[in-house]
Symmetry: C2
Subunit: 235 residues, 2 copies
């Protein structure tokens, strides 16, 4: 028993060291010597546990997907909350963002590690957006695939391009001041995108909501330009 436990501990140490090395240098640039040294094992042990550098990389990605899939299971169906949740997932995991970035630069139409699993995971989160749309929390005309790509873009970008974040804002993406501003902006954006009822942000950021009074008032004045007018159509 104790030998199995020891081996498990060794594997965990190797995985931790490998994640850091792959995030720093990518699959191509990562060195098994460096991983073994950092995990305090010899290289023979590393190959005994994982077979090859590529297999070790696959195992890292596989574990990351599982962890992230679990993170999204109780996903909020309100769009603003979902974007904020997504930001928290990305902005706290620089290693994950860097792994994706190395993959983006290295992969040339080859099969991705865990491709099927990842496609299914994206389909599941797309399903959550679909449910939100069915519940009227996302406007009907929205292309959900584009929305999903956009949510990932908006939330992953600061860590993916820390130098541009710093150039534009003067702050590192991990700076609590940056994160606070980003969160506030993403919440505003999510509310803007999801509002199906006449949002009109005033100077102080409050939102004017449609009421039956407004409806009646607008209904009294036919739209002079003959445009499609939802309010009138709704009478």
């Amino acid at each position: 028993m104790s030998r199995i436990r020891d081996l498990e501990r060794t594997r965990a140490r190797i995985l931790k060291a490998a994640l850091a090395e792959f995030a720093a240098n990518g699959l191509a640039g990562a060195r098994c010597d460096a991983i073994a040294r950092s995990a305090r094992v010899n290289k023979r042990m590393l190959f005994y546990c994982f077979g090859s550098k590529e297999n070790l990389y696959r195992e890292i990605l596989r574990r990351k997907f599982s962890a992230r899939a679990a993170f999204f299971e109780p996903a909020p169906d309100n769009l603003a909350d979902a974007i904020v949740h997504w930001y928290e997932a990305f902005s706290s995991d620089a290693e994950w963002v860097r792994l994706l970035e190395w993959e983006a630069l290295g992969n040339r139409d080859r099969q991705l590690v865990g491709e099927e699993e990842r496609r299914n995971y994206l389909k599941r989160t797309l399903g959550l957006l679909g449910r939100a749309q069915a519940n009227g929390l996302v406007p009907n005309e929205v292309d959900l695939i584009q929305l999903q790509i956009s949510i990932i873009a908006l939330t992953a970008f600061p860590l993916a391009f820390p130098q541009m974040t710093r150039l534009a804002s003067g702050l590192a993406p991990t700076d609590p001041r940056f994160r606070r501003k980003r969160l506030q902006f993403l919440r505003w954006l999510g509310e803007r995108l999801s509002a199906t009822q006449l949002p009109a942000a005033g100077k102080n950021g409050t939102v004017h909501r449609k009421t039956s009074h407004d409806n009646a008032a607008v209904a009294r004045t036919p739209h002079p330009r003959g445009r499609s007018n939802q309010l009138v159509d709704q009478r």
Copy 2:
């Protein structure tokens, strides 16, 4: 004269080959041998023209900034048009996106190439957003720096993470079908974010615009909840 012209042509060939090599492999991974071979010059000529690999890289980035700054000079002040313009700038330049990505992965708080120039360029485009805000085309409560970062994120992401674009949409980011859908989505998003006057997107995506008639109509009905109501404030 002709010798100077020859040298200029040689420099141009080297720059072109170097851009491709840096985009493919980053500054650290780029090889001068490969650049010289692809430009059909010997390495001595390459060093005669540019001094070092790092200088060559600086020159590439400097030229890219200038080209891009020029692209944004007649920037549209309407937010949706600006986002679309930005998307066209990013989605047609995979090499540029890859250079930024290599930089993101490689740079560890070191001074960036052309840092001052790039900061000024971002300030200038921020100024355009500020003008749009002053003209009522961007809501007053919006943090413009966050908006700027978001526009870059939304427009650069598909090319920066082509594998995720493909996983999510089934299409390559350069596929005309993807670009068409992306453009349509970004336009919708820009209109959603910039509307300061009661936008109500219907099922067909049309937007209800305020008119003087609507103004008068709404003004006749005081807002029953006592919320801040921009339309009434504007009388």
